[in-house]
């Protein structure tokens, strides 16, 4: 068992590539994406049934060591501040 940080990010689907670029820049190489999820927030209803990615959200999560987390969290914060979305951070144990 190993103590790690779980980072969950919900953003509009159109921004997925940018989040992944941010991950790559910070050497986060493992992640999981769930595309086209529904929800409602500051930018209104996202029904995930439209022809444009503006109308749907995606969910990305990754787990990483504390060091990597500290190295990337300010970038994630400013990304969310500018592009919208939510970021949830949890202390987790990883079974190894």
């Amino acid at each position: 068992m190993k103590g790690m940080k779980k980072i969950e990010i919900i953003v509009e689907s159109i921004y997925i590539k940018r989040v992944l670029d941010l991950f790559a820049k910070k050497e986060i190489t493992g992640y999981t994406i769930i595309r086209d999820i529904e929800g409602c927030g500051g930018h209104g209803l996202k029904t995930a049934d439209e022809v444009t990615d503006v109308g749907s959200n995606s969910y990305i999560f990754t787990v990483c060591e504390d060091e990597k987390f500290k190295n990337m969290i300010e970038d994630v914060r400013s990304f969310i501040k500018r592009h919208g979305g939510k970021c949830i951070i949890t202390d987790v144990m990883l079974l190894q």
Partner: protein
């Protein structure tokens, strides 16, 4: 306006399917079209309209009339986002003004398709090159919007300017999926001509209206869901979403009249000028102007302008053109 003109437009199966979709939401039915079918319908319609337009263009060839129509289309696509921005700037912040101006400066392919269906119903001729006009009208508003966004970001030193570099502007304007597919299909239609169209017609011609009905059913569902968001937007924006299309269409009509376009071409130019994008521009604006709220420009375009144009706008513009042209 003659009630027959409105009925001829509304009593069309695809249009009725749009209202059926809206009704499903209002009556709280569980009707939904699963992803990724709406995207497939959208791609189908873009290929169909591009191929058919290319074939028509290969038939008609390129002469002065074609250049005139294409020139007017580009002119409208440039001036609409510019004056829309300055009108919006009186009531909105800069970022939302840019996004909304670009949305109304660009066009809606499905509104155009619905307009063509209407012309076919009432037996009015139009030039196949108007599909090329539609394709050319997609991008200028995106370019202008991104230039405005770059200027705004330059003013603000804290902003990252990487999304509005020249390379990014070009990519968003000409390589965004709908513009790229439409241009590609148009090119294929021109190159393959009649032989190509004949071989593709069973899928992209015969089945076209059925797919349009499916797509509009989905659009009805989506538009009705967005209607609930309009409460937050206020009278100015809701008024803008109805008055602006009419104003833009009137300018296009005047230009069409002055430059002696045919009735059908002038109608399509007016309809394109009066339409607002809900696929290409919102995506481009979301990437380049994330400060703008999609909760403003998407519901206005989708839940007000689009339904208005396909139900009342089409017969209204045709009525005015019929009156002008005599």
């Amino acid at each position: 306006m003659n009630i027959d003109l409105i009925l001829q437009n509304i009593l069309n199966p695809p249009i009725l399917f749009f209202f059926l979709g809206m009704l499903a939401v209002f009556l709280k039915s569980d009707l939904s079209i699963p992803q990724p079918l709406p995207k497939f319908f959208s791609l189908y319609l873009l290929i169909a309209i591009g191929l058919h337009g290319g074939y028509e263009l290969s038939k008609s060839g390129i002469d002065f009339d074609v250049f005139k129509a294409l020139g007017l289309a580009i002119l409208m696509a440039i001036i609409v986002p510019i004056y829309s921005f300055f009108i919006l700037k009186t009531k909105l912040d800069s970022y939302n003004s840019v996004a909304l101006a670009a949305t109304y400066g660009s066009i809606s392919a499905v509104t155009f398709i619905t307009g063509i269906t209407y012309l076919q119903t009432i037996g009015v001729e139009y030039g196949g090159y108007m599909v090329a006009a539609m394709t050319l009208m997609e991008s200028p508003a995106i370019v202008i919007g991104l230039i405005f966004a770059a200027m705004l970001n330059k003013k603000d030193d804290t902003k990252d300017n990487s999304n509005t570099s020249l390379k990014e502007i070009f990519k968003e304007a000409f390589l965004n999926p709908s513009v790229f597919l439409l241009m590609g299909a148009l090119f294929i239609g021109v190159v393959t001509g009649e032989k190509g169209w004949t071989s593709m017609e069973p899928l992209f011609g015969v089945l076209f209206k059925g797919f349009l009905a499916f797509f509009l059913l989905d659009m009805g569902l989506v538009a009705a869901k967005r209607i609930y968001e309009l409460k937050k937007l206020g009278f100015f924006l809701i008024g803008f979403a109805i008055i602006m299309p009419i104003f833009n269409a009137l300018i296009a009509m005047s230009l069409g009249y002055y430059f002696e376009l045919s009735k059908g071409d002038a109608f399509l130019l007016a309809l394109l000028s009066g339409s607002a994008s809900y696929i290409a521009v919102p995506a481009a604006m979301r990437l380049s102007v994330p400060e703008a709220n999609p909760g403003i420009y998407l519901p206005l375009s989708l839940a007000i302008t689009f339904p208005f144009n396909i139900s009342l706008g089409i017969p209204l513009y045709y009525f005015l053109i019929n009156h002008l042209w005599g």
